[in-house]
Chain length 388, copies 2
């Protein structure tokens, strides 16, 4: 199976590329190395020392005997090269990670808002456009976010993409219908993911493109079975205020005895998934395309939900580190419940890796090993949702 991975150099993209290669896929990574270049802009670096792409690929070949190809291409900008590449490579599946994925980064300034909008929509639309133009029957697997649903409770369980509703009529009757779950984005980044859904809807309806959209929770952990095989394969670990995800940040902060940074009351409930499960879910999605002519297939890609302050307490209890409550830079509900259906991926065979001390310890070991690489001045989140 030929699989093209857009954004295959990133935090989720790299371990996915290795995992699919290990599973026997013919993998082609397409990436413009934007994530590494953003590190340069932000004057921060992955806590783990990630190797350059050519070193990564040579190491993988040496260790696994398998070859992953790489093309440096900006999917959002270089449409003609993308179209030609799709026509020549003829992938069975394209996994689409090629989007700016940090909400705080997307809110830093007009430049960052506009970059996130242009890059994310440009990438998604160019991909769909090129697939239609190629005339090939290619399955698109896209990394979306649980954030498209928003965190205002309507009180019902969040379904996998489609919500059954009834429309009351003046005569007292009701029309039963199923709709794309209403969108409630909380940042420019999240807005782009809700907009992606409409692009997918249209290209699926008009051109019958097969699409699976994965609404992923907050990813934690860093290594997977494949990235663990050699230090040159190590995955990114972001701890900074823009790109670091909450649980990894707490674990890294605990390692260096930095009081855990809780935004607001910590009453936010979020969905979580370990990076090992991310790669497994993508394998399941790639292997289970919707039938031709079926609507966009949507899976919720998470294994558990937790309240942020409960995670902080867990880490504090494990390590003895202090907690600190900081002003929340985001505009969001102080407290929310979150009940989410994730039956589809479980039914396809996902065996969840739940939060357990053993796995938390592993993340802390990595944090400890590379603690000397941490720039403490980068830990606090400085991006503000509202212009002061």
């Amino acid at each position: 199976m030929k699989t093209m991975i857009l954004g295959g150099d990133g935090f989720c993209g790299w371990p996915t590329s290795l995992h699919l290669s290990q599973q026997g896929h013919d993998v082609l990574i397409v990436d413009n190395l934007s994530r590494r270049k953003i590190d340069i802009e932000l004057e921060v670096d992955s806590l783990t020392p990630i190797a350059p792409m050519s070193t990564r690929l040579a190491a993988w070949n040496e260790i696994s005997g398998k070859t992953i190809e790489f093309i440096d291409l900006d999917v959002a900008v270089e449409y003609d090269r993308l179209e030609r590449l799709i026509e020549e490579y003829k992938p069975d599946c394209v996994v689409h990670f090629a989007e700016q994925r940090a909400a705080p980064y997307s809110m830093k300034s007009p430049k960052h808002k506009r970059y996130t909008m242009d890059n994310n929509l440009g990438a998604t639309h160019n991909l769909l456009c090129a697939i239609v133009e190629s005339g090939l029957d290619i399955h698109v697997v896209h990394l979306g976010t649980m954030g498209v649903y928003g965190y205002k409770n309507h009180g019902a369980m969040i379904p996998e993409g489609y919500l059954d509703v009834e429309i009351p009529l003046p005569d007292g009757k009701r029309i039963e219908t199923s709709i794309l779950h209403p969108a409630d984005p909380g940042s420019v980044y999240h807005t782009t993911k809700t907009m992606d859904q409409l692009v997918f809807y249209f290209y699926n309806k008009n051109d019958a493109v097969r699409i699976t959209d994965l609404h992923q929770g907050v990813v934690w952990g860093t290594n997977t079975e494949e990235t663990r095989l050699d230090e040159r394969l190590i995955n990114r670990f972001d701890y900074d205020g823009d790109y670091g995800t909450v649980l990894n940040r707490f674990l890294m902060q605990a390692t260096i005895n930095y009081p855990l940074t809780i935004h607001g009351t910590g009453g936010q409930t979020r969905a979580f998934i370990h990076i090992q499960d991310t790669v497994k879910c993508i394998e399941l999605a790639v292997n289970n395309p919707p039938e031709k002519g079926q609507p966009v297939q949507i899976f919720n890609q998470l294994t558990e939900t937790h309240r942020v302050r409960d995670l902080a307490k867990l880490v504090a209890d494990m390590t003895g580190v202090e907690m600190q409550n900081l002003d929340n830079p985001r505009k969001e509900a102080a407290e929310n419940e979150l009940v989410v259906d994730n039956k589809c991926l479980l039914d396809l065979g996902l065996n969840p890796t739940k939060l357990a001390e053993g796995l938390l310890d592993e993340v802390m070991e990595i944090s400890k090993k590379y603690a000397h690489r941490c720039d403490k001045s980068k830990i606090l989140a400085r991006s503000q949702w509202i212009k002061k």
Copy 2:
């Protein structure tokens, strides 16, 4: 009142600019003349001989004594100039027409799909971003389309933007809520307008930007009270297969005894509005902003609905011209019903200009006057929704 009109050189933008100027607004047109440049690309021209912008503005000054300013600026591209302009001009209201508005044009090729996506989203997002950055309390009035709702009947009347639904729970209870009406776009153009709604939703929620979104029907007619005052003020009249709107096309075809071009069965029901009512509706919207902190205000901007074949028959009966049924280049339902709520604008004082023989005659008179400018080879619609 200071009003900036983005896209003020276009079919709706120009008569709106004149109308608001006539009503005493201080009007600044911002336009990159893209619509005239697309005429060059398509090798077609407005049936009516539209004057260059400087001639238009000089004529308006001569006739009304009023001054409209004009700045040539690409809203989707020149962000920094746009931001500076907003900060310096300090508009009370920005009317946003600066989008590629033809569904067939948006489906012609990857280049046209991508231009429509980049231009429309770029313009909308740049505008919102610049308003937030300016810190000014500016009301945005946006021209949307009835097409965001789609033409699949769920069987209920189409409300003004927000649909009351009930979410059934497993225990038999129901949650009552109001949601943005589900989107069902029928072209890349329509997709951009559904995506605009999400941009508006986010910037309204996060930054409390005041926004009115007008979901407009198919516009017909060409002149308004102001454009009629002098030939140099004449409005565009598009009859070609990409930009011509259905009723104007039928009237123009009848004038030159060209069999009326009905796509498919003509069973499509669409919403209509006369250009004179368009400018009145925009005046009403501009004068009635939502309160600060209120959700996006959505009005359905139409005065009547008609089935396409009924319009063809009306014109055929009036004129004796033949009708022809052509393959429908669009992918859409062959037949649909359409019942739409338009109470908001009526309550604000809109007095609808309904389809009447007198007004149809006026359009035909203009068609007849400029029939010598018609290139018959441009009448047929050639843009195909599905790649052959």
